[in-house]
Point group: none
Chain length 285, copies 2
Amino acid sequence: MNMAKNIITQLRVQRKQYNTTEQKLIDYIIHNVSQAQEATTQEMSDGSGVSTATISRFVKKIGFDSFRDFSVDLARISVQKSPVEFFGEIVDTDDTVAIAQKVFRGAENALAATVNNLTIDQLEQATQCLISARRVGFFGIGGSSIVAFNAYHKFLLTPIDVIAHPDYDVQLMQAVRLDHTDVAVVISHSGRNKDTLLIAQKLSENHVKIIAITSFPDSPLAKLADLVLLSLAEEVNFRSESMSSLIAQITIIDTLFTLVGSQLSEDTQSVVDTMRDTIEETRAQ
Amino acid sequence: MNMAKNIITQLRVQRKQYNTTEQKLIDYIIHNVSQAQEATTQEMSDGSGVSTATISRFVKKIGFDSFRDFSVDLARISVQKSPVEFFGEIVDTDDTVAIAQKVFRGAENALAATVNNLTIDQLEQATQCLISARRVGFFGIGGSSIVAFNAYHKFLLTPIDVIAHPDYDVQLMQAVRLDHTDVAVVISHSGRNKDTLLIAQKLSENHVKIIAITSFPDSPLAKLADLVLLSLAEEVNFRSESMSSLIAQITIIDTLFTLVGSQLSEDTQSVVDTMRDTIEETRAQ
DNA sequence: TTATTATATGAAAATAATTTACAGTTTGCA
DNA sequence: TGCAAACTGTAAATTATTTTCATATAATAA
Protein backbone atom coordinates (compact mmCIF):
# COMPACT_ATOMS: atom_id res chain seq x y z
CA MET A 1 0.00 0.00 0.00
CA ASN A 2 2.09 2.82 -1.27
CA MET A 3 0.69 6.20 -0.46
CA ALA A 4 3.66 7.86 -2.15
CA LYS A 5 1.74 10.93 -3.14
CA ASN A 6 3.21 13.61 -5.21
CA ILE A 7 4.89 16.06 -2.89
CA ILE A 8 3.10 19.08 -4.36
CA THR A 9 -0.31 17.59 -3.61
CA GLN A 10 0.84 16.75 -0.13
CA LEU A 11 2.03 20.28 0.49
CA ARG A 12 -1.18 21.79 -0.82
CA VAL A 13 -3.32 19.61 1.41
CA GLN A 14 -1.20 20.08 4.49
CA ARG A 15 -0.60 23.76 3.90
CA LYS A 16 -2.69 24.87 6.87
CA GLN A 17 -0.67 22.78 9.27
CA TYR A 18 2.28 25.06 8.81
CA ASN A 19 3.04 28.56 10.03
CA THR A 20 3.17 31.78 8.07
CA THR A 21 6.76 31.54 6.93
CA GLU A 22 6.41 27.95 5.90
CA GLN A 23 3.19 28.74 4.05
CA LYS A 24 5.01 31.46 2.16
CA LEU A 25 7.52 28.85 1.08
CA ILE A 26 4.85 26.31 0.20
CA ASP A 27 2.98 28.90 -1.83
CA TYR A 28 6.09 29.70 -3.77
CA ILE A 29 6.76 26.04 -4.47
CA ILE A 30 3.27 25.07 -5.58
CA HIS A 31 2.93 28.11 -7.78
CA ASN A 32 6.37 27.82 -9.34
CA VAL A 33 6.87 24.10 -9.57
CA SER A 34 9.08 24.04 -12.60
CA GLN A 35 11.31 26.75 -11.18
CA ALA A 36 11.35 25.07 -7.79
CA GLN A 37 12.46 21.81 -9.41
CA GLU A 38 15.70 23.35 -10.49
CA ALA A 39 16.19 25.85 -7.69
CA THR A 40 18.90 25.94 -5.07
CA THR A 41 18.05 26.96 -1.52
CA GLN A 42 19.30 30.42 -2.35
CA GLU A 43 17.08 30.75 -5.41
CA MET A 44 14.13 29.45 -3.45
CA SER A 45 14.93 31.91 -0.71
CA ASP A 46 15.01 34.78 -3.19
CA GLY A 47 11.80 33.63 -4.80
CA SER A 48 9.84 33.02 -1.66
CA GLY A 49 11.32 35.52 0.76
CA VAL A 50 12.15 32.78 3.23
CA SER A 51 15.70 32.28 4.40
CA THR A 52 17.81 29.38 3.22
CA ALA A 53 18.10 28.22 6.78
CA THR A 54 14.34 27.88 7.13
CA ILE A 55 14.09 26.10 3.82
CA SER A 56 16.71 23.63 4.89
CA ARG A 57 14.89 23.02 8.15
CA PHE A 58 11.50 22.80 6.49
CA VAL A 59 12.41 20.04 4.05
CA LYS A 60 13.67 17.98 6.96
CA LYS A 61 10.50 18.66 8.86
CA ILE A 62 8.39 17.25 6.05
CA GLY A 63 10.44 14.09 5.97
CA PHE A 64 13.42 14.47 3.66
CA ASP A 65 16.98 13.84 4.70
CA SER A 66 18.33 16.84 2.90
CA PHE A 67 17.41 19.57 0.48
CA ARG A 68 18.98 17.47 -2.26
CA ASP A 69 16.54 14.66 -1.46
CA PHE A 70 13.66 17.05 -1.64
CA SER A 71 14.94 18.37 -4.96
CA VAL A 72 15.13 14.92 -6.46
CA ASP A 73 11.60 14.15 -5.34
CA LEU A 74 10.28 17.40 -6.70
CA ALA A 75 12.03 16.78 -10.00
CA ARG A 76 10.13 13.53 -10.49
CA ILE A 77 6.91 15.46 -10.88
CA SER A 78 6.28 16.02 -14.54
CA VAL A 79 5.02 19.48 -15.04
CA GLN A 80 2.88 20.01 -18.08
CA LYS A 81 4.67 22.65 -19.99
CA SER A 82 2.45 25.32 -21.41
CA PRO A 83 1.93 24.97 -25.16
CA VAL A 84 3.79 28.21 -25.68
CA GLU A 85 6.83 26.80 -24.01
CA PHE A 86 6.47 23.49 -25.80
CA PHE A 87 6.15 24.85 -29.30
CA GLY A 88 8.29 27.87 -28.64
CA GLU A 89 11.43 25.85 -29.17
CA ILE A 90 10.33 24.67 -32.57
CA VAL A 91 8.84 27.96 -33.68
CA ASP A 92 11.87 30.10 -33.07
CA THR A 93 14.21 27.61 -34.72
CA ASP A 94 14.90 28.03 -38.38
CA ASP A 95 13.83 26.00 -41.36
CA THR A 96 16.78 23.67 -41.30
CA VAL A 97 16.01 22.29 -37.88
CA ALA A 98 12.31 22.08 -38.56
CA ILE A 99 12.94 20.05 -41.69
CA ALA A 100 15.44 17.74 -40.04
CA GLN A 101 13.08 17.22 -37.13
CA LYS A 102 10.25 16.45 -39.48
CA VAL A 103 12.21 13.87 -41.45
CA PHE A 104 13.48 12.12 -38.34
CA ARG A 105 10.16 12.36 -36.56
CA GLY A 106 8.50 10.89 -39.62
CA ALA A 107 10.85 7.94 -39.62
CA GLU A 108 10.37 7.34 -35.92
CA ASN A 109 6.61 7.46 -36.28
CA ALA A 110 6.73 5.06 -39.19
CA LEU A 111 8.74 2.60 -37.12
CA ALA A 112 6.39 2.86 -34.17
CA ALA A 113 3.31 2.41 -36.32
CA THR A 114 4.84 -0.49 -38.21
CA VAL A 115 5.99 -2.51 -35.23
CA ASN A 116 2.67 -1.84 -33.60
CA ASN A 117 0.84 -3.33 -36.51
CA LEU A 118 2.92 -6.45 -37.04
CA THR A 119 1.66 -9.63 -35.42
CA ILE A 120 3.65 -12.50 -33.99
CA ASP A 121 1.84 -14.77 -36.33
CA GLN A 122 2.87 -12.86 -39.43
CA LEU A 123 6.49 -12.74 -38.37
CA GLU A 124 6.63 -16.40 -37.44
CA GLN A 125 4.96 -17.45 -40.67
CA ALA A 126 7.36 -15.30 -42.65
CA THR A 127 10.37 -16.66 -40.78
CA GLN A 128 9.21 -20.23 -41.27
CA CYS A 129 8.69 -19.62 -44.98
CA LEU A 130 12.15 -18.17 -45.43
CA ILE A 131 13.86 -20.93 -43.52
CA SER A 132 12.17 -23.75 -45.35
CA ALA A 133 12.50 -22.27 -48.81
CA ARG A 134 14.80 -23.78 -51.40
CA ARG A 135 15.66 -20.32 -52.65
CA VAL A 136 14.51 -16.85 -51.68
CA GLY A 137 14.18 -14.04 -54.20
CA PHE A 138 13.95 -10.37 -53.28
CA PHE A 139 12.12 -8.14 -55.72
CA GLY A 140 11.66 -4.40 -55.84
CA ILE A 141 11.59 -1.67 -58.48
CA GLY A 142 12.72 1.94 -58.13
CA GLY A 143 13.05 3.04 -54.54
CA SER A 144 12.09 -0.41 -53.36
CA SER A 145 15.04 -1.95 -55.18
CA ILE A 146 17.16 -0.54 -52.38
CA VAL A 147 15.17 -2.48 -49.83
CA ALA A 148 15.43 -5.64 -51.90
CA PHE A 149 19.14 -5.18 -52.34
CA ASN A 150 19.58 -4.53 -48.64
CA ALA A 151 17.69 -7.73 -47.90
CA TYR A 152 19.86 -9.64 -50.33
CA HIS A 153 22.96 -8.26 -48.72
CA LYS A 154 21.87 -9.24 -45.24
CA PHE A 155 20.59 -12.70 -46.10
CA LEU A 156 23.88 -13.50 -47.79
CA LEU A 157 25.09 -13.87 -44.20
CA THR A 158 22.71 -16.80 -43.69
CA PRO A 159 22.93 -20.22 -45.30
CA ILE A 160 19.79 -19.41 -47.28
CA ASP A 161 20.12 -19.32 -51.05
CA VAL A 162 19.25 -15.78 -52.07
CA ILE A 163 18.55 -14.01 -55.35
CA ALA A 164 18.22 -10.32 -56.21
CA HIS A 165 19.09 -7.94 -59.02
CA PRO A 166 18.66 -4.20 -59.53
CA ASP A 167 17.39 -4.41 -63.11
CA TYR A 168 13.78 -4.98 -63.86
CA ASP A 169 14.41 -7.30 -66.80
CA VAL A 170 16.63 -9.56 -64.78
CA GLN A 171 14.19 -9.57 -61.89
CA LEU A 172 11.43 -10.62 -64.23
CA MET A 173 13.50 -13.48 -65.59
CA GLN A 174 14.48 -14.57 -62.13
CA ALA A 175 10.82 -14.51 -61.12
CA VAL A 176 9.89 -16.78 -63.99
CA ARG A 177 12.55 -19.29 -62.97
CA LEU A 178 11.33 -19.75 -59.40
CA ASP A 179 8.85 -22.47 -58.47
CA HIS A 180 6.60 -23.66 -55.63
CA THR A 181 9.55 -24.68 -53.45
CA ASP A 182 10.77 -21.10 -53.47
CA VAL A 183 9.76 -17.92 -51.67
CA ALA A 184 9.67 -14.40 -53.04
CA VAL A 185 9.76 -11.23 -50.97
CA VAL A 186 8.23 -8.48 -53.07
CA ILE A 187 8.58 -4.90 -51.94
CA SER A 188 6.55 -1.94 -53.15
CA HIS A 189 5.45 1.09 -51.22
CA SER A 190 2.30 1.69 -53.25
CA GLY A 191 1.75 -1.95 -54.13
CA ARG A 192 0.65 -0.86 -57.57
CA ASN A 193 3.81 -0.35 -59.59
CA LYS A 194 3.16 -1.95 -62.97
CA ASP A 195 6.56 -3.61 -63.22
CA THR A 196 6.40 -4.98 -59.72
CA LEU A 197 2.92 -6.30 -60.33
CA LEU A 198 4.03 -8.11 -63.45
CA ILE A 199 6.78 -9.78 -61.47
CA ALA A 200 4.29 -10.72 -58.75
CA GLN A 201 1.95 -12.05 -61.42
CA LYS A 202 4.62 -14.34 -62.82
CA LEU A 203 5.55 -15.50 -59.33
CA SER A 204 1.93 -16.23 -58.57
CA GLU A 205 1.50 -18.21 -61.79
CA ASN A 206 4.48 -20.34 -60.81
CA HIS A 207 2.98 -20.91 -57.35
CA VAL A 208 5.91 -19.22 -55.66
CA LYS A 209 5.01 -18.23 -52.13
CA ILE A 210 4.85 -14.41 -52.03
CA ILE A 211 5.62 -12.31 -48.98
CA ALA A 212 4.67 -8.72 -49.76
CA ILE A 213 6.07 -5.70 -47.99
CA THR A 214 3.88 -2.74 -48.84
CA SER A 215 2.13 0.23 -47.26
CA PHE A 216 -1.28 -0.50 -48.72
CA PRO A 217 -3.18 -3.56 -47.51
CA ASP A 218 -5.75 -3.23 -50.31
CA SER A 219 -3.25 -2.82 -53.11
CA PRO A 220 -3.08 -5.27 -56.02
CA LEU A 221 0.26 -6.54 -54.72
CA ALA A 222 -1.20 -7.28 -51.29
CA LYS A 223 -4.00 -9.22 -52.95
CA LEU A 224 -1.59 -11.39 -54.89
CA ALA A 225 0.51 -12.16 -51.81
CA ASP A 226 0.30 -15.11 -49.45
CA LEU A 227 1.48 -12.98 -46.58
CA VAL A 228 1.47 -9.20 -46.25
CA LEU A 229 3.78 -7.29 -43.93
CA LEU A 230 2.60 -3.71 -43.70
CA SER A 231 5.04 -0.83 -43.58
CA LEU A 232 3.16 2.14 -42.25
CA ALA A 233 3.96 5.82 -42.52
CA GLU A 234 2.24 9.03 -41.79
CA GLU A 235 0.38 10.39 -44.74
CA VAL A 236 1.97 13.76 -45.44
CA ASN A 237 2.82 13.71 -49.10
CA PHE A 238 3.89 10.94 -51.39
CA ARG A 239 7.57 11.73 -51.17
CA SER A 240 7.95 11.99 -47.41
CA GLU A 241 5.59 9.10 -46.87
CA SER A 242 7.58 6.83 -49.13
CA MET A 243 10.83 7.92 -47.45
CA SER A 244 9.54 6.99 -44.04
CA SER A 245 8.00 3.77 -45.23
CA LEU A 246 11.33 2.80 -46.78
CA ILE A 247 12.82 3.03 -43.32
CA ALA A 248 10.02 0.84 -42.00
CA GLN A 249 10.53 -1.65 -44.82
CA ILE A 250 14.22 -1.95 -44.16
CA THR A 251 13.52 -2.48 -40.50
CA ILE A 252 11.03 -5.22 -41.34
CA ILE A 253 13.78 -6.86 -43.37
CA ASP A 254 16.19 -6.44 -40.46
CA THR A 255 13.67 -8.11 -38.19
CA LEU A 256 13.16 -11.03 -40.55
CA PHE A 257 16.91 -11.41 -40.90
CA THR A 258 17.38 -11.38 -37.14
CA LEU A 259 14.55 -13.87 -36.65
CA VAL A 260 15.92 -16.19 -39.30
CA GLY A 261 19.36 -15.78 -37.81
CA SER A 262 18.19 -16.69 -34.34
CA GLN A 263 16.38 -19.75 -35.69
CA LEU A 264 19.37 -21.00 -37.59
CA SER A 265 21.68 -19.78 -34.92
CA GLU A 266 24.41 -22.37 -35.05
CA ASP A 267 24.62 -22.57 -38.80
CA THR A 268 24.37 -18.86 -39.19
CA GLN A 269 26.84 -18.06 -36.51
CA SER A 270 29.59 -19.82 -38.40
CA VAL A 271 28.62 -18.08 -41.62
CA VAL A 272 28.50 -14.76 -39.86
CA ASP A 273 31.86 -15.38 -38.28
CA THR A 274 33.40 -16.20 -41.62
CA MET A 275 31.88 -13.12 -43.14
CA ARG A 276 33.02 -11.00 -40.28
CA ASP A 277 36.56 -12.19 -40.73
CA THR A 278 36.32 -11.29 -44.38
CA ILE A 279 34.98 -7.88 -43.46
CA GLU A 280 37.72 -7.34 -40.92
CA GLU A 281 40.33 -8.12 -43.54
CA THR A 282 39.14 -5.30 -45.73
CA ARG A 283 39.55 -2.80 -42.96
CA ALA A 284 42.65 -0.79 -42.40
CA GLN A 285 44.69 -2.20 -39.56
CA MET B 1 18.13 20.32 -32.04
CA ASN B 2 16.96 18.56 -28.95
CA MET B 3 14.51 15.73 -29.29
CA ALA B 4 14.24 15.67 -25.49
CA LYS B 5 14.94 12.00 -25.04
CA ASN B 6 15.51 10.23 -21.83
CA ILE B 7 19.06 10.91 -20.79
CA ILE B 8 19.85 7.29 -20.00
CA THR B 9 18.84 6.19 -23.48
CA GLN B 10 20.91 8.98 -24.93
CA LEU B 11 23.95 7.96 -22.91
CA ARG B 12 23.55 4.32 -23.81
CA VAL B 13 23.33 5.09 -27.47
CA GLN B 14 26.09 7.67 -27.56
CA ARG B 15 28.33 5.70 -25.25
CA LYS B 16 30.87 5.04 -27.93
CA GLN B 17 31.41 8.69 -28.69
CA TYR B 18 33.15 9.05 -25.37
CA ASN B 19 36.51 7.98 -24.11
CA THR B 20 37.37 5.25 -21.62
CA THR B 21 36.96 7.32 -18.47
CA GLU B 22 33.69 8.77 -19.61
CA GLN B 23 32.45 5.34 -20.61
CA LYS B 24 33.29 4.08 -17.12
CA LEU B 25 31.08 6.82 -15.75
CA ILE B 26 28.30 6.16 -18.26
CA ASP B 27 28.41 2.46 -17.42
CA TYR B 28 28.04 3.22 -13.74
CA ILE B 29 25.12 5.53 -14.37
CA ILE B 30 23.18 3.27 -16.71
CA HIS B 31 23.71 0.26 -14.49
CA ASN B 32 22.87 2.08 -11.26
CA VAL B 33 20.22 4.52 -12.36
CA SER B 34 18.36 4.70 -9.08
CA GLN B 35 21.56 5.21 -7.12
CA ALA B 36 22.80 7.75 -9.63
CA GLN B 37 19.58 9.70 -9.31
CA GLU B 38 20.33 10.49 -5.69
CA ALA B 39 24.09 10.56 -5.84
CA THR B 40 26.39 13.52 -5.29
CA THR B 41 29.49 13.89 -7.43
CA GLN B 42 31.48 12.30 -4.63
CA GLU B 43 29.20 9.25 -4.43
CA MET B 44 29.25 8.92 -8.17
CA SER B 45 33.01 9.20 -8.10
CA ASP B 46 33.26 6.45 -5.48
CA GLY B 47 30.84 4.25 -7.39
CA SER B 48 32.36 4.71 -10.82
CA GLY B 49 36.03 5.26 -10.08
CA VAL B 50 36.02 8.55 -11.98
CA SER B 51 37.02 11.76 -10.24
CA THR B 52 34.47 14.36 -9.23
CA ALA B 53 36.19 16.85 -11.48
CA THR B 54 35.71 14.66 -14.53
CA ILE B 55 32.08 14.05 -13.60
CA SER B 56 31.47 17.76 -13.35
CA ARG B 57 33.12 18.33 -16.70
CA PHE B 58 31.27 15.42 -18.32
CA VAL B 59 27.78 16.63 -17.42
CA LYS B 60 28.61 19.97 -18.98
CA LYS B 61 29.96 18.26 -22.05
CA ILE B 62 26.66 16.46 -22.58
CA GLY B 63 24.78 19.69 -22.34
CA PHE B 64 23.81 20.44 -18.77
CA ASP B 65 24.65 23.67 -17.03
CA SER B 66 25.65 22.00 -13.81
CA PHE B 67 25.70 18.70 -12.03
CA ARG B 68 22.54 19.80 -10.26
CA ASP B 69 20.82 20.17 -13.61
CA PHE B 70 21.94 16.74 -14.62
CA SER B 71 20.68 15.34 -11.32
CA VAL B 72 17.28 16.87 -11.81
CA ASP B 73 17.06 15.43 -15.30
CA LEU B 74 18.12 11.99 -14.13
CA ALA B 75 15.57 12.13 -11.34
CA ARG B 76 12.79 12.60 -13.84
CA ILE B 77 13.37 9.14 -15.21
CA SER B 78 11.16 6.59 -13.58
CA VAL B 79 13.28 3.52 -13.30
CA GLN B 80 11.59 0.88 -15.36
CA LYS B 81 12.05 -2.84 -15.27
CA SER B 82 15.63 -3.75 -15.90
CA PRO B 83 16.58 -1.70 -18.93
CA VAL B 84 19.28 -4.23 -19.63
CA GLU B 85 16.59 -6.78 -20.29
CA PHE B 86 14.83 -4.51 -22.68
CA PHE B 87 17.79 -3.35 -24.67
CA GLY B 88 20.23 -6.13 -24.16
CA GLU B 89 21.91 -8.33 -26.65
CA ILE B 90 19.77 -10.68 -28.66
CA VAL B 91 19.86 -14.09 -27.06
CA ASP B 92 18.51 -17.43 -28.22
CA THR B 93 15.70 -17.50 -25.69
CA ASP B 94 14.16 -14.34 -27.13
CA ASP B 95 10.82 -14.94 -28.60
CA THR B 96 9.62 -13.44 -31.83
CA VAL B 97 8.00 -10.36 -30.34
CA ALA B 98 11.01 -9.51 -28.22
CA ILE B 99 13.31 -9.72 -31.23
CA ALA B 100 11.04 -7.58 -33.36
CA GLN B 101 10.73 -5.04 -30.56
CA LYS B 102 14.46 -4.95 -30.12
CA VAL B 103 15.21 -4.41 -33.78
CA PHE B 104 12.64 -1.62 -34.04
CA ARG B 105 13.66 -0.09 -30.75
CA GLY B 106 17.28 -0.14 -31.89
CA ALA B 107 16.35 1.74 -35.04
CA GLU B 108 14.29 4.28 -33.12
CA ASN B 109 17.11 4.89 -30.68
CA ALA B 110 19.58 5.30 -33.51
CA LEU B 111 17.37 7.92 -35.09
CA ALA B 112 16.90 9.78 -31.83
CA ALA B 113 20.59 9.78 -31.05
CA THR B 114 21.51 10.81 -34.57
CA VAL B 115 19.16 13.75 -34.84
CA ASN B 116 20.18 14.77 -31.37
CA ASN B 117 23.78 14.90 -32.40
CA LEU B 118 23.42 16.74 -35.70
CA THR B 119 23.88 20.49 -35.65
CA ILE B 120 22.15 23.08 -37.77
CA ASP B 121 25.52 24.19 -38.92
CA GLN B 122 26.53 20.77 -40.22
CA LEU B 123 23.29 20.38 -42.11
CA GLU B 124 23.42 23.83 -43.62
CA GLN B 125 27.03 23.43 -44.65
CA ALA B 126 26.26 20.08 -46.23
CA THR B 127 23.23 21.44 -48.04
CA GLN B 128 25.19 24.39 -49.35
CA CYS B 129 27.97 22.09 -50.54
CA LEU B 130 25.58 19.87 -52.40
CA ILE B 131 23.73 22.73 -54.05
CA SER B 132 26.82 24.50 -55.27
CA ALA B 133 28.62 21.40 -56.48
CA ARG B 134 29.16 20.80 -60.16
CA ARG B 135 28.64 17.08 -59.62
CA VAL B 136 27.92 15.01 -56.53
CA GLY B 137 29.21 11.48 -56.15
CA PHE B 138 27.88 9.00 -53.62
CA PHE B 139 30.31 6.35 -52.45
CA GLY B 140 29.81 3.31 -50.25
CA ILE B 141 31.06 -0.27 -50.11
CA GLY B 142 29.23 -3.33 -48.86
CA GLY B 143 26.24 -2.49 -46.68
CA SER B 144 26.87 1.19 -47.20
CA SER B 145 26.47 0.83 -50.96
CA ILE B 146 22.76 0.61 -50.26
CA VAL B 147 22.82 3.99 -48.59
CA ALA B 148 24.81 5.46 -51.47
CA PHE B 149 22.47 3.97 -54.01
CA ASN B 150 19.47 5.25 -52.09
CA ALA B 151 21.00 8.70 -52.07
CA TYR B 152 21.63 8.51 -55.78
CA HIS B 153 18.07 7.47 -56.39
CA LYS B 154 16.64 10.34 -54.36
CA PHE B 155 18.93 13.03 -55.73
CA LEU B 156 18.03 12.04 -59.26
CA LEU B 157 14.82 13.91 -58.48
CA THR B 158 16.80 17.14 -58.10
CA PRO B 159 18.58 19.09 -60.82
CA ILE B 160 21.90 18.13 -59.25
CA ASP B 161 24.24 16.03 -61.35
CA VAL B 162 24.71 12.80 -59.43
CA ILE B 163 27.02 9.83 -59.69
CA ALA B 164 26.97 6.43 -57.98
CA HIS B 165 27.78 2.83 -58.78
CA PRO B 166 27.54 -0.42 -56.81
CA ASP B 167 30.94 -1.79 -57.88
CA TYR B 168 34.09 -0.84 -56.08
CA ASP B 169 36.21 -0.61 -59.21
CA VAL B 170 33.81 1.76 -60.88
CA GLN B 171 33.49 3.86 -57.73
CA LEU B 172 37.25 4.18 -57.57
CA MET B 173 37.43 5.32 -61.18
CA GLN B 174 34.62 7.77 -60.63
CA ALA B 175 36.42 9.13 -57.58
CA VAL B 176 39.56 9.74 -59.59
CA ARG B 177 37.63 11.68 -62.20
CA LEU B 178 36.11 14.17 -59.76
CA ASP B 179 37.81 17.49 -59.00
CA HIS B 180 37.66 20.45 -56.63
CA THR B 181 34.39 21.72 -58.08
CA ASP B 182 32.72 18.47 -57.06
CA VAL B 183 31.42 17.04 -53.82
CA ALA B 184 31.58 13.44 -52.63
CA VAL B 185 29.36 11.88 -50.01
CA VAL B 186 31.23 8.92 -48.59
CA ILE B 187 29.36 6.45 -46.40
CA SER B 188 30.92 3.88 -44.10
CA HIS B 189 29.65 2.64 -40.77
CA SER B 190 33.07 1.87 -39.33
CA GLY B 191 34.88 4.56 -41.29
CA ARG B 192 37.80 2.17 -41.72
CA ASN B 193 36.90 -0.05 -44.62
CA LYS B 194 40.04 -0.31 -46.73
CA ASP B 195 38.28 0.12 -50.07
CA THR B 196 36.27 3.07 -48.89
CA LEU B 197 39.38 4.69 -47.52
CA LEU B 198 41.21 4.30 -50.81
CA ILE B 199 38.32 6.03 -52.55
CA ALA B 200 38.36 8.80 -49.95
CA GLN B 201 42.13 9.10 -50.38
CA LYS B 202 41.79 9.62 -54.12
CA LEU B 203 39.01 12.14 -53.57
CA SER B 204 41.13 13.98 -51.09
CA GLU B 205 44.10 14.04 -53.44
CA ASN B 206 41.89 15.59 -56.09
CA HIS B 207 40.64 18.20 -53.59
CA VAL B 208 37.09 16.97 -53.87
CA LYS B 209 35.04 18.18 -50.93
CA ILE B 210 34.20 15.14 -48.81
CA ILE B 211 31.08 14.78 -46.69
CA ALA B 212 31.46 11.64 -44.58
CA ILE B 213 28.56 9.73 -43.07
CA THR B 214 29.97 7.37 -40.47
CA SER B 215 29.39 6.16 -36.90
CA PHE B 216 32.90 6.83 -35.68
CA PRO B 217 34.06 10.42 -35.30
CA ASP B 218 37.67 9.32 -34.81
CA SER B 219 37.80 6.98 -37.78
CA PRO B 220 40.28 7.53 -40.63
CA LEU B 221 37.40 8.40 -42.94
CA ALA B 222 36.16 11.11 -40.57
CA LYS B 223 39.64 12.55 -40.52
CA LEU B 224 39.86 12.73 -44.29
CA ALA B 225 36.49 14.44 -44.55
CA ASP B 226 35.70 18.14 -44.72
CA LEU B 227 32.41 17.56 -42.98
CA VAL B 228 31.32 14.60 -40.83
CA LEU B 229 27.71 13.67 -40.25
CA LEU B 230 27.54 11.12 -37.46
CA SER B 231 25.11 8.24 -37.58
CA LEU B 232 24.82 6.90 -34.09
CA ALA B 233 23.59 3.52 -32.89
CA GLU B 234 23.47 1.63 -29.69
CA GLU B 235 26.41 -0.63 -29.13
CA VAL B 236 24.93 -4.11 -28.84
CA ASN B 237 26.88 -6.16 -31.33
CA PHE B 238 28.44 -5.32 -34.65
CA ARG B 239 25.57 -6.68 -36.69
CA SER B 240 22.69 -4.99 -34.91
CA GLU B 241 24.67 -1.81 -34.52
CA SER B 242 25.38 -1.57 -38.21
CA MET B 243 21.73 -2.35 -39.00
CA SER B 244 20.51 0.51 -36.87
CA SER B 245 23.14 2.91 -38.08
CA LEU B 246 22.14 2.13 -41.66
CA ILE B 247 18.67 3.38 -40.81
CA ALA B 248 20.20 6.52 -39.34
CA GLN B 249 22.38 6.99 -42.43
CA ILE B 250 19.44 6.70 -44.78
CA THR B 251 17.54 9.21 -42.71
CA ILE B 252 20.47 11.61 -42.86
CA ILE B 253 20.35 11.28 -46.64
CA ASP B 254 16.60 11.85 -46.59
CA THR B 255 17.16 14.98 -44.56
CA LEU B 256 19.81 16.30 -46.93
CA PHE B 257 17.59 15.52 -49.88
CA THR B 258 14.67 17.34 -48.30
CA LEU B 259 16.84 20.32 -47.39
CA VAL B 260 18.31 20.52 -50.87
CA GLY B 261 14.82 20.14 -52.28
CA SER B 262 13.48 22.96 -50.19
CA GLN B 263 16.36 25.22 -51.20
CA LEU B 264 15.94 24.56 -54.88
CA SER B 265 12.20 24.39 -54.50
CA GLU B 266 11.06 25.82 -57.81
CA ASP B 267 13.58 24.00 -59.91
CA THR B 268 13.11 20.79 -58.06
CA GLN B 269 9.38 20.92 -58.03
CA SER B 270 9.27 20.79 -61.77
CA VAL B 271 11.71 17.89 -61.87
CA VAL B 272 9.78 16.07 -59.18
CA ASP B 273 6.54 16.64 -61.03
CA THR B 274 8.01 15.24 -64.20
CA MET B 275 9.37 12.26 -62.34
CA ARG B 276 6.11 11.69 -60.58
CA ASP B 277 4.29 11.62 -63.87
CA THR B 278 6.76 9.05 -65.09
CA ILE B 279 6.23 7.04 -61.95
CA GLU B 280 2.47 7.26 -62.27
CA GLU B 281 2.69 5.88 -65.75
CA THR B 282 4.31 2.71 -64.56
CA ARG B 283 1.53 2.08 -62.07
CA ALA B 284 -1.50 0.01 -62.75
CA GLN B 285 -4.59 2.11 -63.33
C1' DT C 1 0.74 43.91 32.92
C1' DT C 2 5.11 41.87 33.13
C1' DA C 3 8.43 38.20 33.52
C1' DT C 4 9.55 33.81 31.83
C1' DT C 5 9.96 30.45 28.57
C1' DA C 6 9.43 28.11 24.31
C1' DT C 7 9.60 28.61 19.61
C1' DA C 8 10.77 30.69 15.26
C1' DT C 9 13.71 33.25 12.19
C1' DG C 10 17.60 35.01 9.73
C1' DA C 11 22.60 36.30 9.62
C1' DA C 12 26.51 34.33 9.51
C1' DA C 13 29.68 30.56 10.49
C1' DA C 14 30.64 25.85 9.52
C1' DT C 15 30.32 22.10 6.68
C1' DA C 16 29.57 19.89 2.34
C1' DA C 17 29.29 19.83 -2.62
C1' DT C 18 30.71 21.44 -7.04
C1' DT C 19 33.67 23.71 -10.19
C1' DT C 20 38.04 25.37 -11.73
C1' DA C 21 43.11 25.81 -11.96
C1' DC C 22 46.96 23.46 -12.39
C1' DA C 23 50.23 19.93 -13.21
C1' DG C 24 51.43 15.34 -14.54
C1' DT C 25 50.36 11.91 -18.06
C1' DT C 26 48.92 10.02 -22.10
C1' DT C 27 47.88 10.09 -26.95
C1' DG C 28 48.20 11.24 -31.59
C1' DC C 29 50.81 12.91 -35.21
C1' DA C 30 54.79 14.47 -37.91
C1' DT D 1 61.46 10.11 -31.37
C1' DG D 2 59.81 14.46 -29.97
C1' DC D 3 56.28 17.92 -29.87
C1' DA D 4 51.60 19.49 -29.25
C1' DA D 5 47.10 18.66 -27.85
C1' DA D 6 43.95 16.47 -24.96
C1' DC D 7 42.79 14.08 -20.68
C1' DT D 8 42.55 13.31 -15.78
C1' DG D 9 43.08 13.74 -10.97
C1' DT D 10 44.56 16.62 -6.97
C1' DA D 11 43.79 20.40 -4.64
C1' DA D 12 42.21 25.09 -4.42
C1' DA D 13 38.36 28.09 -5.13
C1' DT D 14 33.76 28.72 -5.42
C1' DT D 15 29.14 27.77 -4.41
C1' DA D 16 25.46 25.41 -1.81
C1' DT D 17 23.57 23.58 2.40
C1' DT D 18 23.28 23.06 7.25
C1' DT D 19 24.03 24.52 11.82
C1' DT D 20 24.93 27.85 15.31
C1' DC D 21 23.75 31.63 17.55
C1' DA D 22 21.55 35.98 18.51
C1' DT D 23 17.34 38.03 18.35
C1' DA D 24 12.47 38.40 17.89
C1' DT D 25 7.90 36.82 18.76
C1' DA D 26 4.29 34.64 21.03
C1' DA D 27 2.36 32.05 24.78
C1' DT D 28 1.81 31.36 29.61
C1' DA D 29 2.01 32.24 34.48
C1' DA D 30 2.46 35.37 38.30
